[in-house]
């Protein structure tokens, strides 16, 4: 599940940040991906909301400035209600 989630996030991040998929790793962040500016950050969160059919809280959006955090926010939100 985690690997599948990572693949989906990586494809969307690559599309929105306009880089080849291979450039995106769990260590990618707004610090080390040149195109990851504030406009692309907004576009990325919107694309993820669309792909996973959910809404992020403003605090979550601030937190999602690297792949690791994006995966952990998504992991939390996608957990089936018990």
């Amino acid at each position: 599940m985690t690997a599948v989630l990572f693949d989906r996030v990586r494809r969307i991040a690559a599309d929105v940040l306009e880089v080849p998929e291979a450039r995106i790793t769990v260590d990618s962040s707004s610090e080390n991906v040149e195109t990851w500016d504030s406009v692309h950050h907004l576009n990325l969160t919107l694309a993820l909301e669309q792909e996973f059919n959910l809404q992020f809280e403003p605090e979550e959006i601030d937190e999602m400035s690297n792949l690791r955090n994006i995966l952990s926010v998504l992991g939390r939100k996608l957990k089936p209600a018990s």
Binding site: V4, R8, R11, I12, D15, V16, E18, V39, L42, N43, L46, A47, E49, Q50, E51, F52, N53, Q55, P58, I61, L78, P80
Partner: protein, 636 residues
């Protein structure tokens, strides 16, 4: 979890296409453009928009796209809309260069003639300002206003808008698209709001009415009914309050593409990416069932379901016909069966006279479409094609990639709406010629019949009894003349595009002379069909623009028009008449025009060739079968 699996399936589906696109783009192959278009039509998400745009950018230099510079003046975040807009534009073969104004800096940008907006020299400016930013008093503060204050706020807003729009009009030649103001879904006063003529909604409606009038009064200024757009999708769905409060993005994620699409509905007619004719199939498209099997009594067409769905489509086609879009038939049938249904079936709203061309036979549809294009004197890229059969659509897509094949989804009940939403059928202005075009083509069919019977070309020309009328540019003719410079591709020597304002400026400044030609013949009035623009420098009169609408090519009218230009140049005291032929993908019919008329090649470079005529030694005669009349006016 099931929901997620469904989404994943959708993305797996397109991943092969993506890989193929990446492979082709890496090899620099233009064929990738077709796949990009396919991907975009299948999956219009934010991430596929970005993917499509990135790869189109790489192919851009190799594609035949219309460049277009678009500026957006806005009071809210539109950045996430941009990838959708660019992907949709690429799909329509429009190469966008974009300028976004700073937030709420639109007034400074408009009033300062040296602003970055004007430096950008846009072809088109979109004014996208929200009610809550433009008149906060009428959006959220209205309960604190008395009726007198509401009235004065309305008047002030109308005055501001009028001032800004006229200033834009004076400072730029661009097309202007003006958003109107949205009405709130929940008025401050609740149901009480509707009980008063100075209520919040009626105040905003009043501003919108005046705004509509302002746009109609000015040239190339168009209203985008934003209030209706929001209502069409539903106020409650359109907005996302959370995104508005955090990042000033008022439009909900799932509607970002809808705003981009609405802008594209305007960009299609502005950039000339339009379809001039719609070719339709018959069985299971114009009526339900198969005429050859079910017979006149058996096909489904009428006011009751299921025939009503087909009537709805016919109604949509009638609306296109009224907009000047030609209709044609391409159907695999026995001609007599099909024509009998079209002539006699009581449920038919369309009749034979509505169709400018028909190909009803058992032949290949792409060959028939080629013939229809030739008969209507249109390029294949001016045709749209509607057919319920996916195999026929696929075949046409493959054989004739220039033709716009309409994506039909769902069943017959969706056909009418699908046709109404095709951006290539949008028009922003209608002039007499547009509305009569269908009739003119019918006269054209009769002309062709005559040509087939005539003994010689000369006899044919004589039998047409052509009466041509040349005149300078007038207020009444300028919009048709600008339209012709933008739409004419085949018989066009230089393919230079002009807006109305540019033509008026050319004429006013005395830099150039603009002429138009109209022609009547025994079958009817063809209207204004040609434009020429000349510029005088010393002893040279240069033909800047020379074009004829394709429906009058091959009738020696071009010789008559050129003979006039030669006479006019001579009378003005110049010695040489010169003109460039600038080859384009489509203007081969004009290639030998100057050489045929005895002009000599003076110069040639990578753009084209310059031809010259010594007026002191050579004349160009007007064919004696054309009665030519020159109207001398003061050009006003």
């Amino acid at each position: 979890m099931i929901r997620i699996r469904t989404v994943k399936w959708a993305s797996v589906n397109t991943s092969d296409v993506r890989q193929e696109i990446e492979r082709l783009v890496a090899g620099g192959e233009v064929g990738a453009a077709g796949l990009l278009r396919k991907l975009w039509r299948a999956e219009q998400t934010a991430s596929s928009a970005a993917f499509v745009v990135r790869h189109y950018e790489t192919l851009r230099p190799k594609l035949d796209l219309s460049p277009h510079r678009l500026a957006v003046l806005r009071s809210f975040t539109v950045e996430p809309i941009v990838p959708f807009l660019r992907a949709g534009a690429f799909d329509a073969k429009i190469d966008l260069t974009l300028y976004l104004s700073d937030f709420n800096a639109y007034v400074q940008e408009i009033v300062d003639p040296g602003s970055r907006l004007y430096q950008f020299s846009p072809d088109c400016i979109i004014f996208a300002v929200q009610t809550r930013d433009l008149v906060p008093a009428l959006w959220s503060g209205v309960s604190r206003l008395n009726s007198e204050e509401v009235r004065s706020t309305v008047e002030q807003t109308i005055a501001d808008l009028r001032h800004w729009i006229t200033t834009l009009r004076q400072n730029a030649t661009a097309h202007l698209i003006i958003h109107n103001l949205e009405e709130p879904s929940l008025p401050s006063a609740g149901v009480l709001d509707s009980q008063s003529v100075t209520g919040q909604r009626s105040a905003i409606a009043q501003i919108n009415r005046e705004l509509g009038k302002i746009c109609a009064e000015l040239t190339n200024v168009y209203l985008l009914d934003y209030n209706a757009l929001v209502a069409r999708h539903g106020h409650d769905h359109w907005h996302d309050e959370r995104k508005w409060l955090t990042v000033r993005l008022p439009v909900a994620n799932q509607h970002l593409n809808d705003l981009a699409k609405e802008w594209l509905q305007f960009l299609h007619p502005i950039t000339g990416r339009i379809a001039k004719a719609l070719v339709v199939d018959l069985d299971n498209t114009l009526w339900g069932g198969v005429i050859g099997e079910d017979g006149l009594e058996g096909i489904r067409l009428g006011v009751e379901y299921p025939g009503a769905a087909y009537q709805e489509l016919q109604r949509a086609l009638l609306d296109l016909h009224a907009r000047g879009i030609l209709l044609a038939i391409c159907s695999k049938n026995n001609r007599d069966d099909a024509m009998e249904a079209i002539e006699k079936h009581p449920g038919m709203l369309l009749r034979p006279a509505h169709f400018a061309a028909t190909r009803i036979n058992w032949g290949d549809k792409s060959q028939n479409l080629r013939e229809i294009a030739a008969e209507l004197n249109l390029g294949l890229d001016a045709l749209a094609f509607l057919d319920d059969n996916p195999l026929e659509r696929e075949q046409v897509r493959r054989e004739l990639p220039e033709v716009l094949v309409i994506d039909v989804r769902g069943d017959a009940m969706d056909f009418a709406r699908t046709v109404r939403e095709v951006a290539a059928f949008e028009r922003l202005t209608l002039i007499r010629e547009d509305q009569q075009r269908g009739d003119m083509y019918q006269a054209q069919q009769e002309r062709h019949a005559l040509q087939a019977n005539a003994f010689s070309r000369e006899d044919f020309f004589r039998s047409l009894r052509q009466e041509a009328e040349i005149s300078g540019m007038t207020k009444a003719s300028v919009s048709r003349m600008a339209q012709l410079t933008n739409k004419t591709n085949q018989f066009n020597l230089t393919t230079r595009r002009y807006t109305e304002l540019q033509l008026m400026e050319l004429q006013r400044s005395g830099v150039g002379d603009c002429f138009s030609i109209r022609v009547r013949d025994r079958f009817g009035d063809n209207g204004l069909v040609g434009v020429a623009i000349t510029r005088r420098r010393g002893e040279v009169c240069e033909i800047d623009t020379f074009l004829l609408s394709c429906r009058v090519i091959g009738r020696t009218l071009e010789t008559a028009f050129l003979s006039f230009l030669a006479e006019h140049a001579r009378a003005a005291g110049t010695r040489y008449l010169q003109g460039w032929f600038l080859p384009s993908k489509k203007n081969a019919p004009a290639r030998d025009f100057y050489s045929r008329h005895g002009m000599e090649k003076k110069e040639e470079n990578s753009d084209g060739s310059l031809w010259s005529l010594d007026l002191s030694t050579t004349q160009i005669a007007c064919p004696d079968w054309i009665h030519l009349q020159v109207l001398h006016g003061d050009n006003e």
